[in-house]
Assembly symmetry: D2
Amino acid sequence: MALNEATEFPTLVETEHHTDAKAENLLSAANLEAIQDLRANKFQTRRPTVQALEEVLYKPFSVLDHGFVRVVDYMGDDGAVVQAARVSYGKGTRKLREDHGLIRYLLRHRHTTPFEMCEIKFHIKLPIFVARQWIRHRTANVNEYSARYSILDHEFYMPAPEHLAAQSTSNRQGRGDVLEGDEAARVMALLRDDSERAYAHYTEMLNENAEGETLDESRTGLARELARMNLSLNYYTQWYWKTDLHNLLHFLSLRADPHAQYEIRAYADVMIDQVLKPWVPATYQAFMDYVHGAASLSAGGLAVVKRLLAGEAVEQAGSGLSPREWRELMALLERDG
Amino acid sequence: MALNEATEFPTLVETEHHTDAKAENLLSAANLEAIQDLRANKFQTRRPTVQALEEVLYKPFSVLDHGFVRVVDYMGDDGAVVQAARVSYGKGTRKLREDHGLIRYLLRHRHTTPFEMCEIKFHIKLPIFVARQWIRHRTANVNEYSARYSILDHEFYMPAPEHLAAQSTSNRQGRGDVLEGDEAARVMALLRDDSERAYAHYTEMLNENAEGETLDESRTGLARELARMNLSLNYYTQWYWKTDLHNLLHFLSLRADPHAQYEIRAYADVMIDQVLKPWVPATYQAFMDYVHGAASLSAGGLAVVKRLLAGEAVEQAGSGLSPREWRELMALLERDG
Amino acid sequence: MALNEATEFPTLVETEHHTDAKAENLLSAANLEAIQDLRANKFQTRRPTVQALEEVLYKPFSVLDHGFVRVVDYMGDDGAVVQAARVSYGKGTRKLREDHGLIRYLLRHRHTTPFEMCEIKFHIKLPIFVARQWIRHRTANVNEYSARYSILDHEFYMPAPEHLAAQSTSNRQGRGDVLEGDEAARVMALLRDDSERAYAHYTEMLNENAEGETLDESRTGLARELARMNLSLNYYTQWYWKTDLHNLLHFLSLRADPHAQYEIRAYADVMIDQVLKPWVPATYQAFMDYVHGAASLSAGGLAVVKRLLAGEAVEQAGSGLSPREWRELMALLERDG
Amino acid sequence: MALNEATEFPTLVETEHHTDAKAENLLSAANLEAIQDLRANKFQTRRPTVQALEEVLYKPFSVLDHGFVRVVDYMGDDGAVVQAARVSYGKGTRKLREDHGLIRYLLRHRHTTPFEMCEIKFHIKLPIFVARQWIRHRTANVNEYSARYSILDHEFYMPAPEHLAAQSTSNRQGRGDVLEGDEAARVMALLRDDSERAYAHYTEMLNENAEGETLDESRTGLARELARMNLSLNYYTQWYWKTDLHNLLHFLSLRADPHAQYEIRAYADVMIDQVLKPWVPATYQAFMDYVHGAASLSAGGLAVVKRLLAGEAVEQAGSGLSPREWRELMALLERDG
């Protein structure tokens, strides 16, 4: 069965900080061939099919230094959202609204169940510390490469120099300025040396190399499920991750947010631009307007906006908002406050 | 967009107790045409595709007197389960096991996440009291036809004579003998008359008929969201119901069980035979062996089986089991006990 | 065990349109006694305990004509939310923020997991058509009174005259004017007569009355799981419904919304005022400001607000918004547009 | 508010391989005091209260070398399960069954929803690689200590000598013999040295020690969300983990299974013995009989058992089972096969 031939994961060869355009160049010859075989599939189907997504099916999009995202299956399209909404709203809707407007209406009014009718399945390679954030999204199906049964690849994440951020002094959540000079060089050296040493000792304890070959016949080798604990959190893992469109939008709204850590945001950004947009263009547009680019006004914030629009000079003191809430509102409205 | 043409639900014309072979004959000409249009789709895809399921895609399978089940989309196949399992189990598995054996192994050992990698979407027409049981399965996506916005069809469930069961006297859960003679006739007459009257008054209160035409210009008409409360629980509703293969198996294991109410079991049986089997034949076979046809032995029950196999004459009194547990075990083993 | 004495549900005696203050008067003497016994419990516990919620524990709050809501157990308080947030945010937060401000911050920035640390369990009596909307919230635990095994009570919902709304002509979702005069009288008569007849025939088919007494020794009686299908959707059912605070807030935000059907909104309103407020007062206040009373601005809507604040005269034509979006924004800002 | 005083996690002082009886001795004076304060709580409540669980409320049970499990809140008891079941089963059940038998019946017949009516909240300290397995159980609420905002403690897991297992040669899943002599000593040295170095470099990169004090005023310090990636998977993290009783049983059935990795099984075993048993003794007993100690027979396996009981000499060849399935069945029945 042709499909099962693809169970070997494509492994990006080791390199750093490549551009997206070079993603395919990074694949080993063997993996590139497996993907090409899958892309040569030509099945006939009666199912809704999105040609723009078929274009990129199975193709890896490069993220960070060794990570990638690729779509390996999908179900449904914008039309499936519309179809489901019209079941709930009934016969009348067909005449009343254009599909595009209906999708905007649904997202604007939090009618989320029609978006659950589409499903998508990704194959993702990502550092373990990113995977630990990601997995907190519970409404998804996951099969992760198991370091209990298999040997992890010798690939770890090294931040690009421009992402080597200091701890923010003003904001416990964000990053501060970028480290430079000797301190930057020292951090990079520590990260690299410790990562390399961790892997060397990992294989030594296993008494196996990455290909599963025994290193020293006189030794037994530690169980894989134990040896893995010596690896650091910047090592790459990979998984299949499958979710419905509603939960994908929720994930993207949280993880493409400026408050999200850069390393997970990098994945979310690629998924929005390279996958969401070609797959469900109407939903993508509504998402950008009503979720990604939208803002929430509290009851108090809305009252302030109304007073400002009425020409009143409102200040924090008389606004009913706390200083922090006031600052956030003024930043949103791009006013000096 | 061709897909959206299908948002009109196919409505089976009113009839009773037809056989499955006649299902298509029951469709109105208009709906039959919509389905035929969809079935004429010939898209090219790189996705895993199951020809045996494509054969029946969009086709309604008749259930009860006016209900149906039809598959309207799907994602994945047996190969997707194998692929996901091999991610978790790692490179070694490829050589060690046949696909078929691997699927059996997964189901036997409750490794359920690989089955979550397949997804299926049904369009189902079912009586409201069946829908109320069905919806208790929470790990599914649902869009139901809304009687808040639309007018429900004039279709209600009437049990076939052979399913007009009395309350069981020995078992509060099961059904007893079938009602016959005058009592059966009286029950059928009550059910039919009350259902007809409920619908007549429903449209009268709405001041609209099923086509949305006003009945009496001098009246206003009650809101749909209120008028619906006059309908009885045997009226048919319909929904899109989407779930992954693991949760589908769980649903089927509970609802195709002899303890399930006949009216929901009728749906589960059709889904097993007409959908699960052609879609994922290896999973189907493993399901029949390891779930549907399997039995659980308690710690105490297992101890009894071992003693019996050792030739010991065990009786309830010395078995460590309660009388009820003993009876259930003897029934399972088909022994007199 | 005292607890199990309470498994008999308190049944409100039949009456209509009572006020909340009279709720206890509606209980039968037997049920009132069971509740009083539970309320006499005085256990000592080390767990977080909210005296204001203990005050109303087990007490039914009347909703609609025969429905009620009562809290039968709970876990956690505002402090549990704060405690969980401080695990995630770490040691620093303790000094930085007051509890109250932290809870507001969490809700404002969609940090929802700390709210999942509280749990509440309700006993609710509600019409079946309301239960069908309610159950769509999947992240809750439910045990419903089973009409498969037991006989439903003879209680059905009749709208109060002021809620007997016509279908809205402008808005497919909302209700229009209230029906009056002959049409109202006719609707009430139809609803009442059909409901009464449905129950009479239900017990006749069962050959049992509500107390489980056989009506006619010469007949067998239809199985309960079948006879129930003759009841209409305004009949009352009841269930235990348990959820965490995050999902409760989500439920309340959708069901206390003006777009929700009145009959479910009536429950949500009681739960906000009588339960949420005494249980978690800080969360309640933040919820009112940041969720219940908040508004979302789309990217385009936010741009319009900024232009208006800058003194520009914006009209729909040049706003980038559709006419519908424009109308919704002007309504939000209470401007003529 | 007394509760919030407890937001400081109790930190076990560094030590190795202590016995359970010594758990409290390991706490620092400050943390012991915080727990003692909470244990001094004496609130009056009307809620179901389990004295045997109150006995151990807030007390840490030691697991592995630095981990612990402690219950910090709970809701419900065996009586809540019975109460919920009797709602579903109706009035009749009250007379028919004892509580204990009803709970056994529910578990035997997979009636799981009544067990969802109880809830429990743990505070758990565990190695990151264990947390990564644990989090795959999605139906739980989690708040984890964030290494994005805070500095992780200097505590890592070192296997006890008797758990330093080799990779199994016969079974890819299980562990093999225990490493001994020089190889064991070398593994322990590598694990310890790498862990120590990782932490030293972690704080160097942060330019902060575990108390948050700056190490070198001339440097800036790497952001915490980045520096954490240098830590290895045996470092301890901690979280609040809250779930309902049904999902707790499911977790325990999978994680207390002999196939589970020892390091997570150690937690599951403690939770069964120290928490489940005192909290819900009837459910505990039914769980041991019907889940933990139970076995599943496939359709084919059941057929073999029946033939054996009838005195037939069955061998694998004519059994209808694969060699692997046959071996598993014979192992279950403790027969030579």
